[in-house]
């Protein structure tokens, strides 16, 4: 049995998962070390979000284990509250509860984990987190009053409310303009440096990947094609990775059949 490093805070082993009878992920294994930004890459429809949902135990896997902070969970087991409170999740569209204000949204994890904490103290913590994501002005606003980028930052404030040790982000910069996307990437780096939080980020935004990625797992057709550092990915001569990191389309194979017409001049 492999000895698990103390530095490893998440380990996914031989994960097999899918929907209904269909298998989407096969034998996925990788780990996340303390303080690193681990990215899950791949083309659209390769199973990145399914993998994230399985790691978060939002859907049940077919087989395999996931170890959080040294505690192993089987395929059919759910995560316990303690583990959930040590992690934060930033969903693709923010997933803010629309009937609560930004502050109330960010307060939800605090209420759950520290029920005896006075309201004023919770508000102070939330204000601090909102300031970290540069969104203090939106303290009393509702999600419907925010732009796409602001919603993501508000959701990030909620995700880091409990200063999690591990943060999961599902396509954080997708759908944002380049400037906002860049500022969100820098914010994630800042959070890693100031809070020491490790991150698992699902993305296919090359600009973001080049800025924030430490190590990555590249998924192809449900399998891990490559597990390595950003530099290894950039240097790889594997055609799929070459195309992905250089944004080049693979040459189209001409398997087409053409009509034959009889022309008469």
């Amino acid at each position: 049995m492999e000895v698990q490093s103390k530095n490893t805070i998440l380990r996914v082993e031989h994960l097999k998962a899918g929907y209904g009878g269909r298998t989407i992920l096969n034998d996925i294994s990788f780990d996340v070390k303390k303080g690193e930004i681990r990215m899950i890459l791949g083309s659209s429809g390769c199973g990145k979000s399914t993998l994230l949902n399985n790691i978060l135990k939002l859907i049940k896997a077919q087989s395999g284990t996931i170890t959080y902070f040294g505690k192993t969970f089987g395929a059919k087991e759910g995560l316990d509250s303690e583990t959930r409170m040590r992690t934060g999740v930033l969903f693709q569209n923010g997933a803010l509860l629309s009937d609560l204000t930004v502050a109330e949204n960010a307060m939800l994890p605090l209420i759950r984990s520290m029920p005896y904490m006075p309201q004023s103290q919770m508000e102070a913590i939330v204000a601090d987190r909102l300031e970290k994501v540069h969104l203090l002005d939106a303290f009393h606003k509702y999600p419907s009053e925010l732009s796409g980028g602001m919603k993501k930052r508000a959701a990030l404030a909620r995700a880091i409310a409990l200063k999690p040790e591990l943060l999961f982000c599902d396509e954080p910069s997708t759908g944002l303009d380049p400037v906002t996307a860049r500022s969100l990437d820098e914010l994630l780096l800042e959070l890693r440096d100031t809070l020491g939080v490790s991150m698992v980020i699902v993305s296919h935004e090359l600009e973001s990947i080049k800025i924030i990625c430490d190590r990555f797992v590249y998924l192809q057709e449900g399998y891990v094609l490559m597990d390595g550092t950003l530099q290894q990915g950039l240097d790889s001569e594997n055609p799929t990775l070459w195309n992905f990191f250089r944004r080049e389309c693979p040459p189209e194979k001409d398997n087409n059949e053409y009509y034959h017409f009889d022309f008469l001049d």
Binding site: T87, F263, L264
Partner: protein, 355 residues
């Protein structure tokens, strides 16, 4: 003997507008024999041109009749030489046996019923345990739901029950007048309203109004990953989403049903007063004689159970919604249909138990 090729002259512009009739004509000719398309005038063709020529080429191969393109300009000739053969993928036909479909529907119904019972169990657990749970999310949950699901449905419930009771009293008044039984109107009507019409009609209206709103709201939250977000924060979705609605409906439905029944009695009084000259005091004394106090309890229990059915079925449909906007619509429709069916089935069961 070989058939002489028919020649059709193509227009200067082959467009979607003129290619339809032309294609029909060309196909007709090609089915009978060889075809020659004269492209002397053809200078331009729009997006429909490729499909026009490929369909004719396909038909030519199928029938074995020769298709000749004569006097085409070089541009179009080059374009047609590079025309790819497009294969439209065949639709997968999965013919399923009637029993298989029936079995699947049965399993789905059984699963849904089991889920509603699990939800009921959890809702009762969290409703009783909720006040002692310090980590409970308190953001105006139950009070807001009482207002949204109960108070705002008051008007429509009272009006509908009153109108139906009015019509019922009117219809029965003709018959009672004929047999001289006008004095039985109040007692009969009162019993019927409290035992049946009040709880049944109120909850059916609530299923359409409040149940659909519950299902749509939760389904939208499921689709927008908000339910997932709640789970990842270690908050049980039942505690946050179902319990406030469950408590609100548990409080509102019996009260609404009772008040709606009173409204129904008042509507009946109008008929009693105008058709049988029964005074207000006599009418209500007669109702009092026709109703035993236990009937109020039975009526409230019925309303409570019907209210639970509406809430739990709607929440369950909402929580199970997956996909996009379509899933929200499906969950809403399904919640109303299932709730009303469940209410009627439960009402039949109560009929055997209570009366």
């Amino acid at each position: 003997m070989t058939a002489i090729a028919e020649t059709i002259r193509l227009p200067s512009r082959l467009t979607a507008a003129n290619s339809r009739n032309l294609l029909h004509k060309c196909k007709g000719c090609l089915r009978k024999g060889d075809l020659c398309l004269d492209g002397t005038m053809l200078a331009q063709m729009d997006y429909s041109g490729d499909a026009f020529f490929s369909l004719l080429a396909d038909l030519s191969e199928k029938t074995g009749h020769k298709l000749t393109l004569a006097h085409f300009c070089d541009d179009i000739k080059t374009h047609l030489k590079n025309l790819k053969r497009q294969k439209v993928p065949a639709r997968e036909k999965t013919k399923r046996h009637f029993l298989e479909i029936l079995g699947e529907k049965g399993i789905r119904a059984a699963k849904g019923t089991a889920e509603v019972f699990v939800l009921l169990n959890m809702s009762i657990y969290w409703s009783l345990l909720g006040p002692f749970d310090k980590g409970k999310i308190k953001f105006r949950g139950t009070a807001k739901q009482i207002f949204a699901l109960g108070s705002e449905a008051m008007g429509i419930c009272f009006l509908m029950v009153a109108l139906i009771c009015f019509t019922m009293a009117l219809q029965s008044s003709f018959m009672l007048k004929a047999v001289g039984g006008g004095s039985y109107l109040a007692s009969g009507l009162g019993f019927l309203i409290f035992a049946e019409i009040g709880p049944l009609l109120t909850t059916i209206i609530l299923a359409g109004r409040s149940g659909s709103s519950i299902a749509a709201e939760i389904a939208n939250m499921s689709v927008c990953e908000e339910v997932k977000a709640i789970k990842t924060m270690a908050i049980p979705p039942v505690q946050y989403l179902v319990v406030p609605r469950f408590i609100a409906m548990s409080i509102c439905t019996p009260i609404l049903s009772f008040c709606a029944s009173i409204c129904g009695c008042f509507a009946g009084f109008l008929i009693a007063f105008f058709f049988f000259d029964i005074t207000f005091t006599n009418y209500f004394n007669s109702i009092r004689e026709g109703i035993e106090p236990i009937l109020f309890l039975k009526s409230s229990i019925k309303a409570l159970v019907f209210g639970w059915l509406v809430t739990l079925i709607s929440c369950n449909k909402g929580l199970n919604a997956t996909g996009g906007a379509e899933a929200v619509g499906l969950a809403t429709t399904s919640s109303v249909v299932t709730s009303i069916s469940a209410i009627i089935v439960a009402d039949t069961c109560f009929g055997f138990i209570f009366y």
